[in-house]
Amino acid sequence: MWDYLRLEVKRTLRDMRFVLGTVAMPVLMYLLFTNLGTDDGTWKTASMVGMAAYGALGAAMNTAGGVAEDRAIGWLRQLRITPMTPRQGVTARALTGAVTVLPAIAAVMLAGGLVNGVRMDAWKWPVIAVLLWLGSLPFTMLGLGNGYRMTSQAMGGVNMLSYLGLAVLGGLWFPVQLFPEWLQHVSAFTPTNRFAQIGRSVADGHAPSLVALGVLTGWLLVFGSYAVVSYRKAARTI
C-alpha cells in the first residue's frame, strides 16, 4: 500500500498541470488579490488562509482526474490482478489525495510569510497548515467519488463545477461580506467556508468554532459515503 502511495504521489507531482493549477495558480492569485487594492494587513492574512484553502481544495479535487484517467487507461484494472487488495488500493488513493494537498498549502503560506510579510505567532503557522490539511479531507473524498463514478469527460465538467462553485460560494475568492445576505447564510453551510474559517480563527488567535468543525465533519461523512458508494459501483466495471 505504501509503495502504491509513493508511486501515485510521484505521478501526481510530475503532472505539470497539477503543479501549475494547484500550487502556482493560488500563489499568483493570492499575490494579485492582496496587492491590487489598499494595503491592509488583515486582508493579507485572511486571504493567505483563503488561498491556501483554495489551493488545497484544488489539489484534493484533482484526485478525481487521476482516478478517472487511471480507470480509462486500464491501470486500475491491472492493479486488480496484482496481489494488492482493493481496500489497500482505494485507501492509498485517498492518502495520495491527502498528501498532494500539502504543497499547495505550503506554497501559499510561504508566499504570505516571505513576500507579503504576514506576521503571526510562530505556533500558528503549523497549526493552520495542519488544520487546513485535515479540513481538505472531505474534498479529497468528493474528488475520489467523482473519479470513480464518472468517465473522464463527464468528470472534467462536474469536478470543475464542484471545485469553482464551492470555492466562490464558500468565500475563498472574495470575502463573504460582499455577498447578499441570503447567500451569506447559504455560504455558512458550505464545507469550503468552514474550511477557510477554521484556518482564519487560528490566525485571529482563537480556537476553531465547534460549529465549523461540526459542519466539516458532516461533509466528511457525506463525501466519504459518496466515495465508498462510487468505488463499490465502479469496482465491478474497472
Binding site: R11, G74, R77, Q78, R80, I81, T82, P83
Partner: protein, 303 residues
C-alpha cells in the same frame, strides 16, 4: 498439499451472460501446470469474457472457475497470477523501471526488475517514461508487468493485437523464453498461425464454448482432412455434396473446393464423372479447420 495437484486453470460449465448475449456458454476447460495454451476464436467468441472470469474480474452466472484449486481472487491475492489485459494503455508519468518494480514488489517471490525487463526485451528502456514509448514498446512493458511477479500462471489477452510483424516475432520469442521456465501460459488470439507456432495446445472457442481442443496437427485433422479443388468449367454443383467423403462444398468463381474426409474416394468419383479439370488435392490448413469447426451448423446445410 492438495493444491499442488490441482490444475492451473479449470472451468466447469461456466456461463456468463450480458443481457441477451451468452458470452460464455457452458465452458469446460482444464489446463495443467506448465502447459502453453492458446485460446483461439474470432472476435466476440467469448475469449475476453472467459479471461475476465479466470482472473476473478468477473463472476460466472453459473458453473465454477478455479485457479490452482482455489477461487480466482484467492489465487490472484496469493500472487500466483500475472496478466496482460487487452485494453491497457501506457501509464503516464512513470518510468518503465518504476512501474515494473512497483508491480513486482506486490508479489511474494518476484523477479529482479532487470531480469523481467530482459525477458520482455526492454532492458534499454528502463529509465524511459512509459508514456513516451511506441505502441510495440508499451505492449512489451505490459508483458513485463505480467511476468514481473514471477507468477506460476500468466494470462495474455490478445497480446499482439496492433503490433507490426517484427514486434510480433520479438514478442513471441520473449513469451516462449518465459514458458520454457516451466510456467503456465494462456494466451488468446484470433491469429491461427500464432496459436499454431507458439502453443503446445490450441483450444478453439466459438459462441462461448469449446469447439475443439488439441495440437495444431490434431485440429487440422479434426477440421476435415483434405481439400480437393477443380475447375467447374461451366458445369453445375449439384450432386457434389453427395460424393464419397465430401463434407462441404464451396464455389469460388469457377472453381469448386470440396472439403473431404477421404480425398482418394472423392477424386475417384470426380474422375468417374469426367470432372477432373486442373485438379488439386491439399491438406486442409488450420484456417480451413477453423472455419469447419466454428461454422454454424446451419451454414453447412445450405449446399
Amino acid at each position: 498439499m492438495k493444491t499442488t495437484k490441482a490444475p492451473a486453470v479449470s472451468f466447469t460449465g461456466a456461463v456468463k451472460t450480458f443481457g441477451e448475449v451468452r458470452a460464455v456458454d457452458g465452458l469446460d476447460l482444464e489446463i495443467g501446470a506448465g502447459e502453453t495454451v492458446a485460446l483461439l476464436g474470432r472476435n466476440g467468441a467469448g475469449k475476453s469474457t472467459a479471461i475476465a472470469l479466470l482472473l476473478g474480474l468477473d463472476e460466472p452466472d453459473e458453473g465454477h472457475v478455479e485457479l490452482f484449486g482455489t477461487a480466482p481472487q484467492t489465487a490472484v491475492l496469493a500472487g500466483r497470477v500475472g496478466a496482460m489485459l487487452q485494453e491497457g494503455r501506457a501509464v503516464p508519468r512513470v518510468t518503465v523501471a518504476e512501474l515494473v518494480g512497483f508491480v513486482a514488489g506486490r508479489y511474494p517471490e518476484p523477479m529482479a526488475v532487470p531480469e523481467a525487463l530482459r525477458l520482455a526485451g526492454i532492458e534499454e528502456l528502463a529509465g524511459r517514461r512509459v508514456d513516451k514509448l511506441s505502441g510495440g514498446q508499451t505492449q512489451r512493458v505490459r508483458f513485463a508487468l505480467a511476468l514481473a511477479g514471477n507468477p506460476a500462471l500468466i494470462v495474455l489477452d490478445e497480446p499482439t493485437a496492433a503490433l507490426d510483424v517484427e514486434a510480433r516475432h520479438a514478442f513471441w520469442a520473449s513469451m516462449r523464453a518465459y514458458a520454457q521456465r516451466g510456467h503456465t501460459v494462456l494466451f488468446s488470439t484470433h491469429y491461427l498461425e500464432e496459436a499454431d507456432a507458439n502453443a503446445d495446445r490450441i483450444v478453439m472457442i466459438d459462441h462461448g464454448r469449446v469447439v475443439a481442443d488439441g495440437s495444431g496437427e490434431e485440429l487440422r485433422r479434426a477440421g476435415g482432412g483434405s481439400l480437393v479443388c477443380f475447375d467447374l468449367a461451366g458445369r453445375g454443383t449439384e450432386g457434389l455434396a453427395l460424393l464419397p467423403g465430401v463434407t462441404t462444398v464451396e464455389v469460388r468463381g469457377d472453381r469448386a473446393r470440396l472439403r473431404t474426409e477421404d480425398s482418394d474416394a472423392t477424386v475417384m468419383a470426380l474422375a468417374a464423372m469426367d470432372a477432373v479439370r486442373n485438379l488439386e488435392v491439399s491438406p486442409a490448413s488450420l484456417d480451413d479447420a477453423f472455419m469447419a469447426l466454428t461454422a454454424d451448423p446451419r451454414d453447412l446445410e445450405r449446399v
